[in-house]
């Protein structure tokens, strides 16, 4: 079957690539663009490891048809750092030991970034809600919640 041309923005850069019919966005990003930051956990929408934002909204890349990002703004965890300068969230995840095996971390970071972009000073409940679609099998979530809140606090007092 014919490949489908897709032009879109990937972490702020204009990109053009070919998607296979029926290909999901996760495979498209990983295999087609070499962005390995979104992870494959389940391919069923259950784990959130593949979370990306499309036009600012968190979505599950494994359940998005790749060709539908035509003309859209797709962001992944790989786009959070600015060269060697990490996003404050990434620093906070390190400071708070919010990553153990790290498999959930890119998805967590994307969900957290999306929350803070729309709500810079979330409550603890809002943080929990925002990452409720992301599973972590290592940390027990507390360090992740603390890390996100610490960035919110920093922003609030800055």
């Amino acid at each position: 079957m014919a490949k489908i041309p897709v032009t879109f923005t990937h972490n702020g850069t204009d990109r053009a690539a070919f998607a296979d019919p029926g290909q999901n966005l996760l495979e498209f990003l990983r295999r087609g663009l070499g962005d390995l930051s979104p992870k494959y956990g389940c391919g069923q929408g259950a784990c959130g490891a593949c979370t990306v934002t499309i036009d600012g909204q968190t979505q599950l890349a494994c359940l998005v048809l790749a060709e539908t990002v035509q003309g859209r703004d797709v962001r992944t965890a790989a786009g959070l750092a600015d060269g060697a300068t990490l996003d404050p969230l990434q620093e906070a995840f390190m400071d708070h030991f919010a990553a153990q095996c790290g498999y959930c971390t890119p998805g967590m970071l994307v969900s957290a970034r999306a929350l803070l972009d729309t709500n810079p000073t979330p409550t603890r409940e809002e943080v929990i809600e925002a990452i409720s679609g992301n599973l972590c099998r290592c940390t027990g979530y507390e360090p992740i919640i603390e890390a996100i809140l610490s960035v919110a606090g920093r922003r609030a007092t800055a």
């Binding site: 079957m1 029926g22 959130g48 909204q57 968190t58 599950l60 969900s111 809600e129 925002a130 679609g133």
Partner: protein, 266 residues
């Protein structure tokens, strides 16, 4: 491999569906099948903006079938639907999953459809005039009913609508069961009661027994007890990984009673 055909308008998509193709909405269910290689060989979708339209004013609100749970939550005038939309999946699923797709979501999904059933919603199919009761679409959903274009929902009188979802994992576990109640009162008497249950059969269903127990009554202790005691009458709930049929039958009345009590006190 699955081929996905995208059409600019609802009508073109509906015509393609009439030729036997399956429809893809937000894709949260269909894409799983695509990933697993079990989806239909041809899927149809459309970018028609009218599918994402939402009219929130007035006595009847209109939701395009492609309206997402997140869109509903962002609309203050749809506050009566917020407790329902909030309980569908996690944030990413709410950004993707649509109202139209929820009508066809098999157990344990379909929480929003349960609410639509209690509210007496009507379904507008592409290429047809007039709207069909949501009951009909839910009953016929195993067969191809065509492309749902929009859903009309009568706005319930303030405080007359309640919804609860029982799940094991909070905040985003799937339903053990869900209950939606429309219970308008006239001078303290319940009139025109509609009670819908999810997780208590093969799909969302109305409970005639509970409706009979409530209609024409005052919401007092006797009525609550009666409603609780008949809640599982005539139903054959499923047994799955989350709960047995026996468990569902035991607890549905308890949750129904708590829901009715919370509506009474609010």
């Amino acid at each position: 491999m699955t081929e996905v055909q995208t059409y600019p308008t609802i009508d073109e998509a509906a015509r393609a569906m009439a030729r036997g193709a399956a429809y893809m909405g937000g894709g949260t269910i269909v894409m799983r099948e695509v990933n697993a290689g079990t989806a239909a060989p041809v899927l149809v979708r459309t970018d028609d903006p009218t599918l994402r339209q939402l009219r929130a004013q007035g006595d009847t609100v209109s939701l395009g079938a492609g309206v997402t749970m997140a869109q509903i939550l962002a609309e203050p005038q749809l506050d009566f639907l917020h407790p329902v939309a909030r309980r569908v999946g996690g944030p990413q699923v709410r950004n993707m999953g649509t109202v139209g797709g929820n009508l066809f979501a098999a157990h344990p999904y379909g929480d929003f459809a349960v609410a639509l059933l209690a509210l007496g919603a009507r379904v507008q199919l592409a290429g047809t005039s007039g709207a069909r009761p949501v009951e009909d679409v839910l009953r016929d959903r195993a067969r191809q009913v065509g492309l749902v274009a929009a859903i009309e929902v009568p706005r319930p009188r303030h405080g007359s609508f309640g919804f609860t979802k029982v799940s094991r994992v909070k905040p985003k576990g799937v339903s053990i069961l869900s209950i939606a109640v429309l219970a308008p009162q006239t001078g303290g008497t319940l009139r025109g009661v509609r009670v819908a249950l999810g997780g208590m059969g093969s799909g969302p269903l109305r409970s005639a027994a509970v409706e009979r127990a409530l209609d024409g009554q005052r919401l007092d202790r006797t009525t609550l007890e009666k409603a609780q005691s008949v809640a599982s009458d005539g139903l054959q709930p499923p047994t799955d990984a989350l709960a047995s049929a026996w468990y569902r039958s035991e607890v549905v009345g308890v949750h129904l009673r708590r829901l009715l009590q919370s509506m009474e006190s609010s």
